[in-house]
Amino acid sequence: MLALRKVEKRFGALAALDNIDLEVAAGEVLGVIGPNGSGKTTLLNTVTGVYPPSGGRISFQGADITGWKGHRIARLGIARTFQNIRLFPSMTVFENVWASQHSRVSGGLLALLRSCPARSCGDTRRVEEMLELVGLLEDREVLAKHLPLPARRRLEVARALTSDPPLVFLDEPAGGMTPAETADMARLIREVVAPNRTCVVIEHKMALIAGVCTRLCVLDFGRKIAEGLPGEVLADANVRQAYLGSDGALDA
């Protein structure tokens, strides 16, 4: 579904991504883990067109998307959430999710002037369904900035799913959450995000990774150091070395 071939991303002298080869198969939930600064978010930013790769090719569903602008990649069907939560703070919950529908409205300049968000424009029912699934339908008229953190993360998930993309990237979906909230997010990913689509989860929390991922890929200093089933990867000596600097237990 998604294939990276020798992808590199350099910021000056720093190689944030170094020769990454990665395949994401249709239907899987791939976990990307690695210490801080190992290039996880850079990988995501490169794939979604925040910036172009410095080298290598990226293809999605057979199309070469290397160097495409972010909006074209998004339209093609790759949605994402953000590590430090990006919402439109002064828009309501409903409007935030509706934001992903703009690119699906056809009709050129005139359609731009249709009132919004009106029942007639875009798929309002779909927005409401998604809000219901993440448990935010009650709060639809609340401004996004007034939501507590776990609700904001769920709102981001709803926004990413509303355009029904085949591939979704979740960047630390349980960042800053308590264990109970993390368990809720894991359930949401398993029951709502993963079915019928491919999903890449970037995460630190083993509780989440172990609960949702079908396969893991480990980055360290911009290089892929391991890949495989979660049990095997977490037992890998290199992985333990990279994460903990010694042979401690991976249980956080």
Binding site: G70, H71, A99, H102, R114, S115, H146
Partner: protein, 302 residues
């Protein structure tokens, strides 16, 4: 109404156009110090259309507004890579360039034995459409407010439309907007073009109201005021900048004992408002709450 009141009201009306123009860009997250250039360019273009080439005033306004819109889109395309402070500086530089060009441009044509047209630093005299047709100040004021109402209605419709929501998305977080599949470059150029047209309508009216324009009037202070109006009145609705204009010109200029201290009071007011209401009197949150009050479909918790 006496002429003084009509003149003050007309000034409020004409300056409102440039305030709305700056407001539209503030919505998209850009602080432009250059909207006065489009106001000025259009004043010259519209004046040239009616005084030099005997076009009717509506054609003059269309010529001025289109010229301003086109130049704004070109400047917008050139400054796309810039954001924040760098965009502001670039707009200021372009505006000053335009003003300096107007200071040296001399194109005059013979109209009934009299030379008419821009005359460099001496300005552009003889835009006498109003007098030739014996139109009173009050009638012209009605024209100003008619066009202002039309512009305001268009802007309010845009704000309620998908385009308005997209522009606010750009202003709030343009990377996030891009990630929603929106071609942010295209919408940004559209926005600067629209802002240029709006400033242009005001400039065209201004040239015909004063019958005389000079480059000096379109200096950076006009652009700074245009920005301040939105920041005072509020960025939540297009009525915000109009409130800002009304406070500055209507209130501060009209109250005679403040006259000499107008800029001091105005500056102080801007500073105080920016501290306590950083997005103006009618900011997004208050507008949202007002809408909730008026809306029966009110699911809000707060």
């Amino acid at each position: 109404m006496d002429d003084y009141v009509v003149t003050v009201l007309s000034n409020i009306g004409m300056i409102s156009f440039i305030a709305l123009s700056a407001y539209l860009l503030l919505l998209t997250g850009e602080i432009s110090f250059g909207q006065q250039a489009y106001f000025g360019l259009s004043a010259y273009a519209a004046g040239a259309a009616t005084a030099m080439y005997q076009m009717p005033i509506w054609a003059g306004i269309v010529v001025g507004a289109c010229a301003a819109g086109l130049v704004a889109m070109v400047v917008g395309a050139l400054t796309l890579q810039l954001s924040g402070l760098y965009f502001s500086i670039a707009t200021l530089a372009f505006a000053e360039m335009a003003r300096l060009i107007l200071l040296i441009v001399e194109i005059q044509v013979d109209v009934d034995g009299e030379m008419v047209g821009p005359e460099g630093a001496n300005g552009f005299h003889g835009i006498r459409w109003m007098f030739e047709r014996d139109i009173s100040l009050t009638e012209f004021m009605l024209l100003i407010y008619g066009l202002l109402a039309l512009t305001l209605i268009c802007l309010l419709l845009v704000e309620r439309s998908r385009l308005g929501s997209i522009l606010r998305m750009l202003g709030s977080d343009d990377l996030l907007a891009e990630m929603q599949g929106l071609n942010t470059v295209r919408y940004r150029i559209l926005a600067v073009g629209m802002a240029g047209v709006i400033a242009g309508v005001g400039g065209a009216l201004y040239a015909h109201f004063t019958t005389y324009v000079e480059p000096q009037f379109f200096n950076v202070m006009l652009g700074v005021h245009a920005l301040a109006y939105g920041l005072i009145g509020g960025l939540g609705t297009a009525f915000g900048p109009l409130i800002g204009v009304a406070i500055d010109i209507g209130f501060l200029e009209a109250i005679r004992f403040i006259q000499g201290y107008r800029m001091i009071v105005f500056g102080g007011l801007v500073a105080i408002l920016l501290i306590f209401m950083p997005r103006g009197i009618l900011d997004e949150e208050r507008v949202h709450r007002l809408k909730a009050v008026f809306s029966r479909r009110n699911h809000a918790r707060a």
